[in-house]
């Protein structure tokens, strides 16, 4: 009987930019990166799995905060044929705000000079259908503030990777992609 669980997806390659950036693929398949303005993980989605979990811990260089957005990629090329639409909500003590934006695929929502953590559930990137993902972030400031987002990508191309891009500054951390063996 097949075992259910999470399977680490080792990238076939990674690509990064940014002043003084460095990145490496660890022996366990995770990716360590430093001072990156962009980071691409190639070959992490395959026909073996439909759905994925991406876990990151992140440290940025901008005290007022930045974020990383995502484009799906095919063989390292970011996909723009479809539309990325992001719904977002932010619960900060008793204040809740929300917004929707097109042309942006929110991924990691709050990166500051405090360590943050996020998990992203991505559904069907390698299937010939729309891809959707959902992110939950928390970070080490403001006492448990929740920032949550859901994203759709309207095109049905079969994508094998992600390209992450910072809105400002550079980001360091660790990221791992897991396939759901369902």
């Amino acid at each position: 009987m097949a075992t259910s669980g999470l399977v680490t997806m080792t990238p076939s390659s990674i690509a990064s930019t940014g002043t003084g950036n460095s990145s490496s693929i660890n022996t366990n398949g995770s990716v360590t990166f430093s001072s990156c303005a962009t980071l691409s993980l190639n070959g992490v989605f395959t026909s073996s799995y439909d759905n994925y979990m991406i876990v990151g811990r992140l440290l940025g260089t901008i005290s007022t905060g930045a974020r990383m957005t995502c484009r799906l990629t095919i063989a390292g090329t970011p996909q723009t044929a479809g539309t990325y639409t992001s719904q977002y909500f932010d619960a900060d003590s008793t204040t809740i705000s929300a917004s929707r934006a097109t042309a942006i695929g929110r991924f990691f929502n709050q990166i500051q000079t405090y360590w943050s953590g996020a998990s992203v559930y991505m559904f069907g990137p390698y299937l010939a259908q729309q891809t959707v993902w959902r992110t939950v972030d928390s970070y080490g400031r403001d006492g448990g503030r929740i920032i949550d987002s859901g994203v759709t990508y309207s095109d049905s191309a079969q994508c094998d990777g992600i390209s992450l891009s910072t809105s400002s500054g550079e980001v360091s951390g660790l990221i791992t992609v897991y396939g759901f063996n369902q």
């Binding site: 080792t10 990674i14 990145s23 490496s24 693929i25 957005t69 934006a101 809105s167």
Partner: protein, 77 residues
């Protein structure tokens, strides 16, 4: 603001590295992304400022009706 071509470093699982300059398309895409990020940030901050102003206005009107600070806080919680 126009940005210059930037280096892209590709790393493979065996540790092999390749470095190349961004193509004109990649440079233009990054420039467009940064412009989009800035526009989105400005729009979000404006929306937050408007929401805060409305909240303060509502608190002032509630106070004018005779509610004390605790009652106003309870309503707005």
């Amino acid at each position: 603001m126009a940005i210059k071509p930037f280096e892209i470093t590709t790393v493979y699982p065996d540790g092999t590295k390749e470095t190349r300059w961004s193509t004109p398309e990649e440079t233009a895409q990054r420039e467009a992304d940064l412009a989009q990020f800035e526009a989105d940030r400005i729009a979000r901050e404006q929306a937050e400022a408007e929401a805060l102003a409305k909240r303060e206005s509502a608190k002032a009107k509630l106070a004018a009706l005779g509610l004390d600070a605790d009652e106003i806080a309870a309503i707005l919680r």
